[in-house]
Symmetry: C2
Subunit: 374 residues, 2 copies
């Protein structure tokens, strides 16, 4: 027993070192590159390569990396059958948890050298996209379609879901969200991934745990919840009334606030700009009006709370015509790269995570015989 | 970026409060009861009730609790088929990870009240035993057998594995290991479970993550590794030569040392006493001689390192005729109760786990155009 003070949620506690990512002066950097510089200038595969190998690829390397991703597409039949056997109501995040775990039994990469771990990461990147697309189609009564070569990852993901070529705007915006979601140092799912890695367990186990963590509405589930919120209101006036009431009750609003960003999340700003253009193209300014009706009082109140990336992401995915059930799974298809980079980093310089706890239970007591118990 | 000092593996850091368990003066207490008082005096179901409900059950309550466990036995057909579809070489811990995740889609308990969470915990206790037994039989070309009512949990687990009544010694000793393994505050798998719970994700997701963490050889995998070590030697002389060499090289020995117990693990002592009796009954003092040949130099050297519970557990399970592949999964069948108690505790007073990291990567740098990359 100890009486030192516990820190709820380890807030403010440095739980380890990382060279993958940091937040520098309020801005997210992936291996030294700011998210503002990356977004719009590089595609998701370049970010995946950066996270896994430490550097942005040159053209020839990007081409070979893309071919490697492509080579891993295609689910083992047993995984498809497992997905098929799941009841229709099973949430897509639960499907991913089970299907990735099942696919782990058919891991095409053997060994655990640094090179093997990077190859396994690329396989997992292809796998998560395959699972999301296969389930999406099976749920809609259609068979999974094979990935076609020569496409970008976002474009291919949309193609595998819908069974037809994606329009350029949809592919570009999905790619942007994958870039923005790829990595964010010691968030709860990545921390889960590193704790599992620290026992010297395998990469699939770590990623399956991370999927379970990302599912939580306080974490990745927030992009779905943000869109659910916007869907509740018929117009901006209704949204304004709701937010006034919510602020008066001092209640939290999903999609706003971030433990690391106290003065706003650059990713939200980048995505919001694109989302506004998209809404204009689609003629859905009515939704943007609801979006702003909630946002404006949040950012102008005495103690402003800024939107995080999940707030504009929910509406972006909605405008792209993606079903709500896919929002957090698409986050997985991106963050899988950050999780794998952290798994690799943890495994190369490991110390098992084994913190202490502060005891708050009953004092030591003798075991009563069963006849003397209440 | 921050330059405060990180603590590798959060050693010595208090990561939260718990009323489930503590280590008091070097001894493990479950909700105030010392493990020395519990072991041999209560059965695993009493411990499970204690961990989940906070108190040891009176006789009538124990009976109803046992009936509740029994009522949850029996795997959904889809889970059996999923297990059947796994390649034979898949390790049992990976089978558990996938099968528990799959069974989650058929969770018989609805809702998330405190009562629902306790019922889901009891279901998971039955489920993990069912999965282990079903896979054990399927791998040996036999169909799973149903659980029979009126047995203790350990006895039933053996019965479901072997398809015939267990002998009293085996049931008693397996029960003892389940009691000893049930709970140990913020170990790596329980910490994983709490981090996942802290995102407000579901109990199955948390437990699946914990299984992945327990699999690691630095954690639950140690009982298997300890027995693998003992199996390497033909006699005590070979073991003595090996340990002398290992100590001279200052290498670690699996099954020895524990971050929390610096002066020995009571659980190891309790189990070792029983293991010695069992070995005498079975006429396997040769194995005990190898066991002691490694242990004695470890505990008598200048800086002694004591065995943890995994060291005698490996040999105990071996003497009970259990296959190596079951050792860590049996740990799951026990620790599932601790994980669930911690999930419930975390969910009743939650703060998301979101620590910080110390950045060690490249300084901020501009994004080079793809044509300018090396």
């Amino acid at each position: 027993m100890t009486d030192e003070i516990a820190k709820p949620g380890l807030e403010g506690v440095i739980a380890g070192d990382t060279a993958v990512c940091c937040v520098d002066q309020g801005e997210l950097l992936y291996r030294g590159y700011s998210i503002s510089d990356l977004a719009g200038n590089v595609c998701f595969e370049e970010v995946a390569h950066l996270l896994l190998y430490g550097e942005l690829p040159a053209k020839a390397r990007l081409d070979s990396f893309r071919r490697e991703v492509e080579s891993y597409h295609g689910l083992p039949a047993a995984v498809v059958e497992t997905i098929r056997a799941m009841p229709e109501a099973v949430p897509m995040m639960d499907v991913l948890r089970t299907a990735v775990s099942m696919a782990g039994h058919f891991d095409p990469v053997k060994g655990n050298t640094l090179d093997d771990l990077r190859r396994r990461s690329v396989w997992l990147m292809a796998l998560t996209a395959d699972v999301v697309a296969a389930r999406y189609r099976l749920k809609n009564g259609k068979e999974p379609v094979a990935a076609r070569p020569g496409m970008g990852h976002a474009e291919r993901l949309l193609h595998m879901c819908h069974g037809r070529p994606a329009d350029a705007t949809s592919a570009r915006l999905l790619d942007l969200t994958l870039v923005l979601y790829a990595e964010h140092e010691f968030n709860a799912s990545t921390f889960t991934d590193r704790v599992i890695a620290s026992t010297e367990s395998d990469m699939v186990s770590a990623v399956v745990g991370a999927i379970g963590a990302l599912k939580g509405p306080l974490h990745g589930g927030a992009n779905e919840k943000a869109m659910e919120l916007l869907s509740r209101f018929r117009d901006a006036a209704e949204a304004s009334a709701w937010i006034a009431d919510t602020l008066a009750r001092k209640q939290k609003v999903v999609g706003f606030g971030h433990r690391v960003y106290k003065h706003g999340d650059h990713r939200a700003h980048i995505l919001e700009t694109q989302m506004r253009q998209l809404a204009a193209e689609k003629g859905r300014q009515d939704l943007v009006a609801i979006y702003d009706a909630i946002k404006n009082p949040m950012v102008t109140k005495e103690k402003p709370i800024y939107p995080n990336v999940d707030y504009p992401c929910g509406l972006t995915y909605y405008l792209l015509g993606l079903p709500l059930d896919l929002y957090t799974p698409l986050f997985v298809c991106s963050r899988i790269t950050g999780w794998c980079a952290h798994y690799i980093e943890q495994s190369q310089n490991n110390r098992i995570y084994r913190p202490l706890s502060r005891y708050t239970g009953p004092a030591r007591r003798p075991v009563p015989p069963i006849t003397a118990r209440a």
